[in-house]
């Protein structure tokens, strides 16, 4: 969870983008990196395979600037989506303050979304965390593709608690900042 550093007057919050393989988690971070002003973000670190699949994580720090004397920063992480990287996924969730679940809207990825969501619940439970009690937002990505499930279907399968969701087309940046805005506000509220 977040740490308030009174010595360096900093508050850092950790937000993790979760979801099945190839759902667009890294694309979200790349778009954010590209669009925010260079002086408000750090380097985008990607630990990826030669074929650009996330191997361990992507990391992007985004500075909110100084809020009432505290330098406030969001640390954005992605996890590797492929099923067999679960050990790495679990490590990245350590100390998480907020979660974005990026779902792949394509019909044939529905099962992969459901499996990844279960995996998220399980991995958080190992840290004593419950998704219903931490800031959590869902992004339904790839809404521009022809073979997609309806929002109603996705909501039924993935969002029984009806948390906030955003439709997105990550490759064009649609919905990327709406999602980030939503989760970062929830994280900030959770600190009060």
């Amino acid at each position: 969870m977040s740490m308030i550093n009174y010595a360096s007057r900093e508050i850092n919050c950790k937000i993790v983008y979760y979801g099945p393989g190839l759902c667009g988690k890294t694309t979200n971070l790349e778009y954010i990196y590209e669009k925010v002003a260079p002086n408000t973000r750090g380097k985008l670190i990607s630990l990826a395979t030669e074929t650009e699949r996330t191997l361990f994580f992507d990391f992007l720090p985004v500075d909110l600037g100084s809020i009432r004397g505290f330098k406030t920063r969001f640390h954005l992480y992605t996890v590797p989506g492929q099923v067999y990287y679960n050990a790495s996924r679990k490590l990245i969730l350590k100390g998480v303050d907020g979660v974005v679940f990026v779902a792949d809207s394509q019909v044939e990825r529905l099962d992969a979304n459901v499996e990844s969501m279960h995996n998220l619940y399980e991995n958080l439970a190992e840290y004593g965390l419950d998704l219903r009690e931490i800031p959590f937002v869902i992004q339904y990505n790839k809404r521009d593709l022809p073979n997609i499930s309806s929002i109603q279907e996705l909501e039924t399968q993935l969002n029984p608690d009806r948390v906030e969701y955003h439709e997105a087309v990550g490759t064009r940046g649609i919905g990327v900042f709406d999602t980030l805005k939503a989760v970062s506000k929830l994280v900030i509220k959770s600190l009060s």
Binding site: I4, A7, K35, G65, I67, V96, S184, S192
Partner: protein, 167 residues
């Protein structure tokens, strides 16, 4: 480490105690710089020569490195690797666990030796562990999560809208 790093605060007086301790450690070991990183990947403090690299990114990678090695340890039947060493041609780094919550990262060059750093780290980790344990107990005793004032939340929300609003 069940529970991960719970919310906690790092006070100025804690920093001064730790700074004094690490400064004398750097003097005795002839290492260049010591960084404290929490297990979630956040930089807690830097003492000694200020690093020229991006220390925020460095902290996230150091925590990931340590966590991955922790898992490797458990796979071969160890409870942990309490320290790690990475050797470079000119610069090397030594990482050590502090109270299962924080990682001490020491950067050193050929002005000293691994043996010297290792011996001195062992001693300083004992003292650091004591300080961090005290800090966590103090926080647990207050029996509450950290709370920021409402004005902070309002201002932060405005800033989020300003920063991400038109993108």
């Amino acid at each position: 480490m069940a529970g991960g790093a719970a919310s906690w605060s790092f006070e100025e007086r804690d920093f001064h105690r730790i700074e004094r301790l690490l400064q004398s450690f750097l003097y005795e070991s002839s290492a260049r710089c010591a960084l404290l990183v929490d297990r979630a990947g956040q930089l807690v403090a830097t003492v000694g020569e200020q690093p020229e690299f991006d220390s925020v990114a460095f902290a996230s990678l150091a925590a990931a490195d340590f966590s991955a090695n922790d898992q490797l340890a458990s796979m071969i039947g160890e409870t942990e690797f309490s320290s790690l060493f990475h050797q470079g041609e000119r610069e090397s780094m030594y990482l050590a666990d502090v109270a299962r919550r924080v990682i001490l990262v020491v950067l050193f060059d050929n002005r000293t030796t691994l043996g010297m750093v290792r011996v001195k780290v062992k001693a300083v980790v004992r003292e650091l562990s004591e300080i961090f344990r005290e800090m966590f107990e103090r926080h647990a005793a207050s029996q509450s999560r950290l709370h920021l004032e409402t004005a902070f939340v309002d201002e932060a929300e405005d800033e989020i809208d300003r920063l991400f609003g038109d993108l």
